[in-house]
């Protein structure tokens, strides 16, 4: 493994850095030295900036860093939202309305959080796809992948719990259906649903449970697993292209870091644009007695939603548990399912074909769901019914 990596020989040799002991003996250390002698962080920073990037690493490897940045932004905007939010059925809706309509820049901050979550899901999927097609989950990076799969599920849990918080019709009914999905688990289903809802019905305790998870439990878990992920990424170094390319590795700084920065700028630009151009909506307040609302989940769960439509009676557990659970389990076990030592797609055809087929099916189902589900704002009334009425009545 190469130690110090410089793209080309510098023309002027830098003065070698004094050893820590020497610097310690100086009478008047600079503030930087003083701190470094105590924190010892400069070596750590240096090591990371010098991290070797195999030739061929480039734009595809910027997605992880973009995710990291977007997550930090979610944390910041989430903190801001929490300051004006109140998690109770009487106040939640009003507080979100207050944020959106009265707080300075409230609609924008909320928009950043809402659109940020959508962009994070998209970027996460892209990141997973790139790792999948590059075969970077193979030895010795199995656990980097496994931790990644856990992170992916945490992100979906974030979105599911966050969706309820505004306590509008959309939030309420998507959660009624979403939590009932847990109820379809054989034997334990009902208990599981009670635990998630905090009672028989979606109500005050569901809201506090979702809130506590969204702002305490999930962020804590996400931080632990993201930290572990990054540690593992550094420990095993970036895998590089499937076929090793000619040339020497280059240090992470400045070329790759610059690409990372460009992508972060672009990603943030997209989130800011979306937040400004499509400010977050708020529908009518949740009405548990209403019978004229067509629930719809967040768009990336629409594939699952479509799957539920085509499952015959009595087999819903296939759509709610077997298929999603199977995909999750398959993802977790991927490094052991695909045991071929080669990362080249041609050498692991079956997993590439199977993976691509599953990805395409999910994409098609999601697209179908998006096309068949009325856009927000048409929620009340007979949304979704035309589809049903086209069917012959048996």
């Amino acid at each position: 493994m190469p130690t110090i990596l410089t793209p080309e020989e510098p023309t002027v040799r830098p003065v070698p850095e004094p050893k820590p002991e020497e610097r310690l003996r100086r009478d008047r250390p600079s503030l930087g030295d003083w701190l470094d002698l105590r924190l010892g962080w400069w070596g750590f920073v240096r090591k990371n900036l010098d991290e070797p990037m195999p030739p061929g690493v480039g734009w595809w490897q910027t997605l992880g860093n973009l995710l990291l940045t977007l997550l930090v932004f979610q944390f910041v905007t989430g903190f801001a939202l929490a300051m004006y939010y109140s998690p109770s059925p009487t106040d939640a809706y009003r507080s979100v309305k207050h944020i959106t309509e009265e707080v300075t820049l409230g609609s924008f901050v909320r928009g950043l959080h809402v659109w940020g979550s959508t962009v994070i899901v998209i970027v996460t999927v892209l990141h997973i796809l790139r790792v999948f097609f590059w075969g970077s989950y193979k030895k010795p990076r199995e656990l980097t992948w496994v931790v990644g799969v856990i992170i992916f599920n945490l992100i979906l849990a974030f979105s599911f719990t966050g969706y309820l918080l505004p306590w509008d019709q959309k939030a309420y009914w998507a959660t009624v259906v979403g939590t009932r999905i847990a109820g379809t688990v054989p034997v334990l289903g009902h208990a599981l649903m009670l635990l998630i809802r905090g009672g028989e019905e979606v109500g005050a305790l569901t809201l506090t449970r979702f809130y506590a998870s969204h702002v305490m439990l999930l962020p804590a878990l996400l931080m632990v697993f993201t930290g572990l992920h990054l540690y593992l990424v550094r420990r095993h170094h970036i895998a590089g292209p499937v076929l090793p390319q000619k040339g020497r590795p280059t240090p992470f700084y400045p070329v790759q870091l610059f690409k990372d920065a460009v992508v972060v700028l672009g990603g943030m630009g997209i989130v800011v644009y979306l937040a400004l151009a499509f400010p977050p909506a708020l529908e009518a307040m949740a009405d548990p007695s209403g019978t004229d609302f067509a629930p719809r989940p967040e768009w990336y769960f629409l594939g699952l939603y479509e799957l539920l439509k085509i499952m015959p009676a009595g087999y819903e557990v296939v759509a709610t548990l077997v298929i999603p659970g199977g995909i999750s389990l398959g993802m977790l076990l991927l490094p052991w399912l695909d045991r071929s030592p080669s990362r080249h797609p041609a050498r692991r055809q079956w997993i590439i074909v199977l993976g691509t087929a599953i990805i395409l099916l999910i994409a098609i189902m999601t697209l179908k769901g998006i096309l068949e589900t009325p856009p927000p704002g048409h929620g009340s009334g007979h949304a979704g019914l035309p589809v049903t009425l086209d069917r012959p009545l048996a």
Partner: protein
């Protein structure tokens, strides 16, 4: 079994016998387990508290009997004062009432598939679920779509000219 700790650090505390070292190691593990258990156990019980809540049943009048002719289906709504966790609220509910020649049936509007609220379409004589295409007939039986069971029926009684249903809250 010797692990690397036992070997690597043996020089540092040569006074301690390996058995004693290991015993202390186990004690530390045990103490940590107890400490963690003291926090985690009660918290788990606390989180699981909703499992212990028993539902009560209440009879509520929902409609005057005269307003439901034979063969008809109607939606009625009623309000119950319920305890929703920390809150006491007046919760509004709906129920579908259907009168056959010999009795009155009352259906919970929650679709038995995944709980969306079904809608009664009188002209089609069917309930339609807006979510995944569940369809039920006037007797609450599944006609098509994914719902696994008929609509849930509430116990009904007719007293003093009013229709009462029994709801668990």
């Amino acid at each position: 079994m010797k692990n690397s700790h036992d070997q690597a650090d043996a020089s540092l505390d040569g006074q301690l016998k390996p058995t004693r070292r290991r015993l202390l190691g186990w004690l530390v593990a045990g103490i940590n387990l107890v400490v963690a258990g003291v926090v985690v156990g009660p918290v788990l019980g606390y989180v699981a508290s909703p499992l212990r809540r028993k539902a009560k049943s209440e009879w509520v009048p929902v409609l005057d009997e005269a307003e439901l002719p034979v063969g008809q289906t109607r939606e009625a709504s009623f309000v119950l004062r319920i305890r929703d966790g920390f809150a006491e609220t007046d919760q509004k509910y709906s129920v579908f009432l259907h009168r056959t020649p010999d009795r009155v049936m009352a259906f919970d509007p929650a679709c038995t598939h995944l709980g969306c609220r079904v809608k009664w379409m009188g002209d089609k004589d069917r309930y339609f679920c807006p979510c995944h295409g569940g369809v039920f007939n006037a007797d609450g039986k599944v006609v098509s779509g994914p719902p696994p069971k008929p609509l849930e029926e509430y116990p009904v009684k007719v007293e003093d000219g009013r229709i009462w249903i029994q709801k668990k809250v």
